[in-house]
Symmetry: C2
Subunit: 258 residues, 2 copies
């Protein structure tokens, strides 16, 4: 495959064009060691020290806060890509431990949160001189309330687009047709060199690119028609998600016990 | 802490100074899903497609080769930071599957390999226009044959320096005194912004920096004296490594069954 797009700028801790030379972005990818193979992402502004977590887990909140504190950061938002069925969000515990922290999720998820976002919104944090923006793109299909977040040359895709795969579409308002359209119109329209950071990987891979997934995703790659994708998804015969009965009610309340 | 060093260039897929603008480095960090929490690193040259794996695992060879093949790369070396006690190297299986691939390990490890390296050596791969160099630094102490590899703003530390920790020093010729000296003279002398990529992390963290470890490593940070470090290490009371009796003999033969 054409690897030219791999030579474009960078995964992390990078100097962003047009910004102060001493500014940039703090970036850490974190893996759930409790069993759900979830990735949590920490993004921070080195100027103001403001930071956000994307898809924090209840089980990993103490680990996440240790990393945040080590780097001298202050959490502003706990941001969710969707209402997860395989683990409980850390948003509630983070709110209890970090004064002023706000939870964020899509309005279309039906879940409780301090901030409800929708397609086209921008979540901002950081200093005036170094504002970091997350652009919200609606990417329904795994659930009806799934969104992806675009930040510079990175996209956080939740379960919409995984590395060489995608989230299942057989529960929580899932729709293979919608997921196909989401990936094709919202994600594959991003530049090929965009780094894809998913909510999970079960093979220990940590990042992909839009270019790779367009070429190599066995379900959703450019060679697959919508009909082929729907057929693939309808024949997965997946087991009932182990943690869904515990996770969904908790996540609809943003992980907060009433 | 001072976060200025986070704004320096990048973790991955980056344009390296002085190189062709269409060149760069392909970089993937890969996690062992079989239980040893090991990281394997893929580094590749997008021009020639030549690539190396650092610390491949026997159990993950098929996954690694799938990533290599997806990216259109050709493996030149399987490089080991040391003779591991907690898993079997993938070098042998890789040699059986990839024609021409050579295994690499430190001469001081006592292990068999195609290429034996020592402190000060440079392992090179890539096109003439985009040579990628790994500088070998001897960092004994976890084992007597441990080395770290420096590539631009990254250092692959094996078990010498872990994120907020270090490898144990109570077997395989380990020496707390030697490890302290290795970390202080070979690793902490690197620029603060150097990204630290260890062989393991048990909390799902993926990267640190030399600056962070100098300030925050609870065993080896700048505030600790050698005496304090030796005392900490002598009181760890660690269990006998579960896989050592299987791993060591295999790794001494570079993972190849006779």
């Amino acid at each position: 495959m054409d690897l030219k797009f791999f030579s474009k700028p960078p995964l992390a801790d990078f100097v962003r064009e047009g910004l102060r030379p001493d500014a940039g972005l703090i970036f850490r990818q974190l893996f759930d060691t409790s069993g759900s193979s979830t990735y949590t992402y920490l993004l921070g502004d080195p100027v103001s020290k403001e930071a956000v977590l994307i898809d924090p887990l209840k089980e990993m909140v103490d680990r996440d806060l240790a990393v945040v504190n080590d780097l001298g950061l202050k959490l502003k938002y706990a941001i969710n890509t969707h209402c997860h069925a395989d683990h409980i969000t850390g948003s509630g515990d983070l709110k209890a431990k970090v004064t002023g922290l706000q939870s964020v999720i899509a309005e279309s998820s039906g879940a409780r949160a301090d901030v409800h976002i929708k397609h086209g919104d921008v979540i901002s944090f950081g200093a005036d001189s170094n504002v970091i923006n997350l652009e919200v793109r609606a990417t329904p299909g795994h659930t009806d309330g799934c969104v992806s977040y675009v930040c510079d040359n990175m996209v956080f895709t939740g379960d919409a687009l995984l590395i060489r795969g995608c989230g299942r579409t057989d529960f929580q308002g899932g729709s293979s047709e919608k997921l196909y359209d989401s990936v094709r119109t919202q994600l594959f329209e991003l530049p090929d060199e965009t780094l894809v950071y998913p909510a999970h990987d079960y093979k220990g891979r940590m990042v992909s690119t839009i270019g790779e997934e367009k070429e190599l995703n066995p379900r959703l790659g450019l060679k697959k028609t919508k009909e082929e994708f729907v057929e693939i998804m309808s024949n997965l015969n997946l087991a009932y998600p182990k943690k869904i009965d515990e996770s969904l009610p908790a996540n609809l309340k943003c992980g907060i016990d009433d």
